[in-house]
């Protein structure tokens, strides 16, 4: 090879490839066993009826705890599957738009929008019928749900809601005569 260039080119590519092999693989989909930042205490869970008892349960003592899966795309995708699998979509609609339960996509957060507050809303339940899931769901699943809820309406939201074509909705009832 007459010109010296291939060596330098080779070197650059080799460096790139070496990084590939040592690439840190963070955020594997399953997540390791123990959950960091899980140090939460939860209120007492009433066991009158095996069902989930919706209603007020004493507030949780919350430190300023942040979500260990804050921007982990894998956890957000799992959060989406839990949102559907655990019936959250029943009250809050398939993409969090609201139905029986309030909308999770708008900017109004009745009980606060910090990760710990949303965690508490899920774990402790809220007054008007939000069940307390704390006893039924381990923390790592609740944190994934929190990550999914925070991703609603943002670019990171997995499976965005389908945009429905503007239906030809009758602007005014077709009058027999021109209406004033």
């Amino acid at each position: 090879m007459s010109s010296r260039f291939p060596e330098r080119l080779g070197l650059a590519a080799a460096v790139g490839l070496a990084i590939a092999l040592a690439g840190c693989t963070r955020g594997a989909q399953g997540g390791e066993g123990g959950v960091p930042g899980g140090g939460l205490t939860r209120g007492e869970q009433s066991d009158t009826v095996p069902g989930v008892q919706p209603g007020i349960v004493p507030e949780v003592v919350l430190g300023h705890v942040s979500n260990p899966y804050a921007d982990d795309a894998g956890a957000i995708a799992t959060g989406r599957q839990l949102f559907v699998g655990f019936n959250c979509s029943g009250c809050h609609a398939a993409y969090g738009g609201g139905g029986m339960g309030p909308s999770l996509r708008d900017s109004l957060w009745i009980y606060g929008k910090r990760d710990a507050q949303i965690f508490s809303s899920i774990a402790e339940g809220r007054a008007y019928g939000m069940p307390a899931w704390g006893a039924r769901l381990p923390d790592e699943l609740i944190w994934r749900l929190v990550a999914y809820v925070k991703s609603l309406g943002t670019e990171a939201e997995p499976e965005k809601p389908p945009r429905h074509a503007a239906d030809k909705v009758m602007k005014a009832p077709k009058p027999r005569r021109a209406e004033g």
């Binding site: 090879m1 080119l9 690439g23």
Partner: protein, 639 residues
Amino acid sequence: MATTAPAIPGRAPDERLHQIWETKPGLLGILGTVDHKEIGRRYLVTSFLFLIAGGLEAVVMRLQLTRSDLRLLQPEQYNQLFTMHGVTMIFWYAAPVLSGFSNFLWPLLIGARDMAFPRLNAYSYWTFLLSGIFLYSSALVGQVPDGGWFAYVPLTRDAFSPGLNMDFYALGLVFLTISTTAGAINFIVTLFKLRAPGMSINRIPLFMWGTLTNSFSVLFALPALTVACVMLYLDRGVGTRFFDPGGGGHPLLWQHLFWIFGHPWVYIIVLPAMGIVSHALPTFCRRPLVGYTTVALATVTTGILGFGVWVHHMFATGLPPLATSFFSAASFAITIPSAIAVFAWIATIWTGRPVVRTPFLFMVGFIVLFVIGGVSGVATAAAAFDQQLTDTYFVVAHIHYVLIGINLFPVVAGIYYWFPKITGRMMSERLGRWNFWTMFLGFNLGFFPMHIAGLLGMPRRIYTYPAGLGWDTVNLITTIGSFVFAAGVLLLVINVIYSRRRGLPAGPNPWDAYSLEWATSSPPPPYNFAVIPTVGSRHPLWEERLDEGGRSILSEGPALDEKGEKETVESSPLDSRLTDVLRMPEDTYYPFLHALAVMLTFYGLLLRSHRVAGVGLLLVALLTAGWLWPARRELREEE
């Protein structure tokens, strides 16, 4: 030639040509060279680095599979490794290495001074390199593609492959298709328009028939891959539902689109390699190839039939038996053109006087592995039995026999054969022999047991397997074999590095070969040929020893050095009569800068930032305009 510029005074014709054609020094030479030989060398080196990367990934995977229940790798890491191994080898090594040979050799083979579009040629290299860096930059953020090299949906949709992993895959492939398509266009036009006078269509070397078929297949097959990858990217991020049954799409749409590209692609990456053997074998058999026309037609037939068999990758997806039978029959039929080629080579060896050198050994090894890979392919063509074979290690064995057998072995033979022409020095024959036997035995020791593992029911792409299923022994042997094979490849690298400095000096034609590239010096001067030769037969350098008739004139012809600008001849497509003289572009930064702008756009798309993508596109538009802006010289000419 209307006006005659004053010839540069006092310089012999060669110096004048040398001064016109040599690559500019400094940065412009490095980033802006359009010399096909320089681009050819860079293609070869870069694709070999990707080969080594893919090889290291394979070796680490083999360590994990040495025994049952090993815990060297987490499943996520293993999935990333086997995906990157597949993607790197098939996309960033197999096709580019052949482009390396073609870029370096085509002008020399047809007596031209450069490719038809030198700047496009440089551009195809830069987009190839930058797309490779784009793909491997996924390792920096730890989100390496992990969906397998054919990335079936819905696993690779955003719901089950969150993160940027598969966005790197989809965008990286679209980025690479730019390079491959640019290369294909360049080869087609060069072959039909820039041949030396007299080199009619039935006199072009068989290596060029291979690459020509490869180029046409690329033009027809790559759009399917681009469409599929763009759809996947949109499904993952924008919310379209091409592949989601819930939204009116269907997962099999991806499989059909991918394999409509997929199967032609595996012929794309083997036909030029078969061309290398058809081109180099006669030199070592001291006689022309048997049945030139039949082998050329067989090559083209393989390329065409390659578009009609893609469903044999999908025999288990529940398609109706009638459709499956049609594609099974087509897959059986495609074996015949390959059989023709194999027997042409054997006939050439049988009726020739073989001179056993390292390239020849690799070519014989190639024929043996070709046959083994071919017949195991026929076993998978039988739809019924394929429902047992598909997705087991039998198919992995078949893939490696055909890809390493039919692509890597001829490539290594090509390196040993053309190393003297590229560097002017011979590669060491002793090291070559060691290199061949370690690679050949290592390969068979490593990959033949995979047939057995597959027949024992071992599925592919599993990061571990339980004991007690009888797979431990075969996997152990495969790991040992793969290490021996890796040692073989290492020997090749050592031989290349050693011979560049201390190889024996090789004259213009060390093998006493017959084709035009051996009619110029080693390494060839920047202008390839002092004068454009006139070709009289298929074997210009063996005419006097062959009784085929036809006289080539290599010493006289147009020197095209009067105007002090880069020029080469243009000829008619079929019988290559001289029709015009073409002015060729100078070194320029545009290809490199354009490739960078495209890379910026792809990073913008990856990060879903409209601003970055927008800026990238704007740069692309500006640079395209700049690239195509008529140079002042041409303007002056028109007034």
